[in-house]
């Protein structure tokens, strides 16, 4: 009896160790990647990196300024498309949750979140690049915007749903029409959470490369024309990473560091905001 119990206890202790080791094993790549980024990327970060455009192949110097600007432009375009549809759609899901449309939309939004981003690129190519007859920032923005919609819809729905029913009822009791209640009372109350969800979605699409490969296409110069090809940070990182030039490799690391830093900051801020939201409930 006693021996059997000791064996069971040993298994229990053993599993604690095993699961602890699993956790360590999973976190090791995270620190390896971040550590490598920090070490190699920092050495290539300089003022030039943020202000210069790419130089000639094989020659040192040049930077990724236009790629950073391009990424900002692309997520602005994507946001213009994805945020209104996402927020309003998510509000519908939360205010009228049991209609047929809601059920269908909720389901398809989750499915859409899992569609490979390269398929979104194909979609934008057929929809925008072919009719317009050239690559463009617009096509890249559409590809990213389409990815943003389901993310924003779902996070908006969840946040708006958390707004207490009493708030709505109080507003209606004061004679405010339903539509105004939703627009002026409910959504502003949920604004903080909605914005957090949007920021996380934007950070995610800012790092996407595959949908831009044959839509935004890349540009070695400054470009503010949305009907022309445009540079983007992840695209540039990819092009430099597979190049044979050591200087470009270092710049790829620097670009990766910048990208990851932005993504990390947004995610950390979102975590804090979510914690605060939970505490206020």
């Amino acid at each position: 009896m006693d021996r059997r119990y000791r064996f069971r206890r040993a298994k229990d202790r053993g599993m604690v160790v095993v699961t602890f080791l699993c956790t360590v094993a999973v976190l090791v790549p995270l620190f390896l990647v971040l550590g490598f980024l920090a070490r190699t990327g920092v050495s290539a970060l300089n003022w030039d990196f943020f202000t210069e455009i790419p130089g000639a192949a094989g020659e040192p110097g040049g930077g990724m300024a236009n790629a950073i600007a391009g990424t900002i432009l692309l997520i602005t375009l994507a946001g213009a498309m994805g945020i209104p549809i996402g927020v309003l759609g998510g509000t519908y899901l939360s205010e009228y949750p049991s209609t047929r449309l809601s059920q269908v939309t909720r389901f398809t939004a989750d499915v859409m979140n899992g569609i490979p981003s390269i398929v979104m690129g194909l979609f934008a190519y057929v929809l925008i690049v072919l009719p317009l007859r050239h690559f463009s920032a617009l096509a890249g923005g559409v590809a990213l915007g389409v990815m943003l919609i389901p993310t924003v819809v779902r996070t908006t729905e969840e946040i708006v749903r958390l707004v207490p029913q009493s708030v709505r009822e109080a507003s209606l009791a004061l004679g405010i029409p339903t539509w105004k209640t939703t627009m002026r009372v409910v959504i502003p109350t949920a604004a903080a959470g909605i914005v957090t969800g949007i920021m996380v979605g934007l950070a995610r699409i800012a790092g996407e490369t595959a949908p831009l490969l044959f839509t935004a296409f890349g540009n070695r110069f400054w470009n503010w024309d949305i009907l022309q090809p445009i540079a983007a940070l992840p695209l540039q990182i990819f092009a430099y990473a597979i190049s044979p030039f050591d200087d470009w490799h270092r710049q790829a690391w620097a670009g990766a560091l910048v990208l990851v830093t932005i993504v990390l900051i947004v995610n950390i801020a979102a975590r804090f905001a979510a914690n605060r939201q939970v505490k206020l409930r």
């Binding site: 009228y96 709505r168 339903t178």
Partner: protein, 318 residues
């Protein structure tokens, strides 16, 4: 009192702005299924020439010959399936282990930071992981892991051939790193949703901690965990950049994990902008259609399994 099925109380009389506003919201919500439908239609139209020319043969032909204009998606399906399976083989046990650690064993104040760190792994863009893969993982696999596997298990056809560093094995490893956060996040949520009463009942019967987890928590959370696995699978199937950078880009079907391979997303990424004949483009879109269909099905299954058990909002939405 509220209108059944809505969160909008019926206490107020309908005003002139209400219907148009509700319609606006509904239209926006409808955009989601409409867009998915549009993607499906666009893929079918653009891939039509290949669909009619190759039909079902596409799935069993292993030649991908742009010169002879013969296209078969079999090597890419093989590469996609094998690399994803390898990834799950590694990620599922590890991910479950972490989930058990986080949901059952770790004190409350430590849970949040650790799960946050795991989520961070998912937030790192694919191209950055691919960059790390080329310069750190590939040399390590070539100089450390492959020789180790070869010396111990080299008699298996799985580990035959020269270790190049790039190939199926590295692709599987890098996919495992990328999908493990999904397994951890969903499984942890699902396990924490198991009622305390279940655990307490097991403990009251004299079970150890591990036995409680094994008999009370895991079975209860089983469908959710399977859903998490499907989610991770869908992610692995569609992953493009990191895989392209480490898999070797050769459309072939070889038994060895050391051999280079090719996946559907990788071939589209590499060859789409350069396909020189219409049928070549259509073949790539057809392959994209296959990928789209499979990931939609797998995601739908995942969703059905998870939605039953998960609770509460989470910031990691696929």
């Amino acid at each position: 009192m509220s209108i059944a099925g809505t969160r909008v109380p019926a206490a107020s009389p309908p005003r002139s702005g209400d219907r148009p506003f509700q319609l606006l919201l509904a239209v926006m919500a409808a955009a989601v299924p409409v867009v998915i439908g549009a993607i499906l239609v666009a893929l079918i139209i653009a891939g039509w020439p290949a669909i009619t020319q190759f039909g079902a043969r596409f799935f069993v032909t292993s030649t991908w010959d742009p010169v002879a204009r013969v296209f078969g998606v079999l090597p890419f399906m093989y590469g996609t399936v094998v690399s994803s399976s390898l990834a799950l083989l590694i990620a599922v046990p590890l991910g479950l282990g972490v989930a058990i650690f986080l949901s059952e064993l770790v004190p409350g104040w430590l849970r949040s930071p650790i799960s946050f760190l795991v989520e961070l792994l998912a937030a790192i863009p694919s191209v950055v992981i691919g960059l790390w893969g080329i310069f750190v993982l590939v040399p390590w696999v070539r100089t450390v892991l492959s020789p180790l596997l070869k010396s111990t298990l080299g008699f298996l056809p799985l580990f035959s051939g020269p270790p190049l560093g790039i190939g199926m094995l590295t692709a599987g490893l890098i996919l495992a790193i990328m999908v493990v956060p999904f397994i951890v996040a969903v499984s942890t949520e699902v396990m924490r949703a198991v009622p305390r009463s279940q655990r307490e009942a097991a403990l009251a019967l004299g079970a150890t901690g591990w036995e409680t987890t094994r008999t009370a928590v895991l079975p209860y959370a089983r469908s959710g965990i399977v859903g998490a696995i499907f989610l991770a699978l869908a992610r692995a199937l569609g992953e493009t950049m990191a895989v392209t950078m480490v898999i070797g880009n050769v459309p072939q079907i070889k038994a060895s994990l050391f051999a280079p391979a090719y996946t559907i997303p990788a071939v589209i990424a590499n060859e789409f902008a350069e396909a020189t004949s219409d049928i070549y483009v259509a073949a790539l879109v057809y392959a994209g259609l296959v990928l789209f269909t499979v990931t939609v099905v797998v995601n739908a299954l995942a969703r059905l399994l998870v939605s039953r058990v998960a609770r509460g909002p989470s910031l990691i939405r696929e």
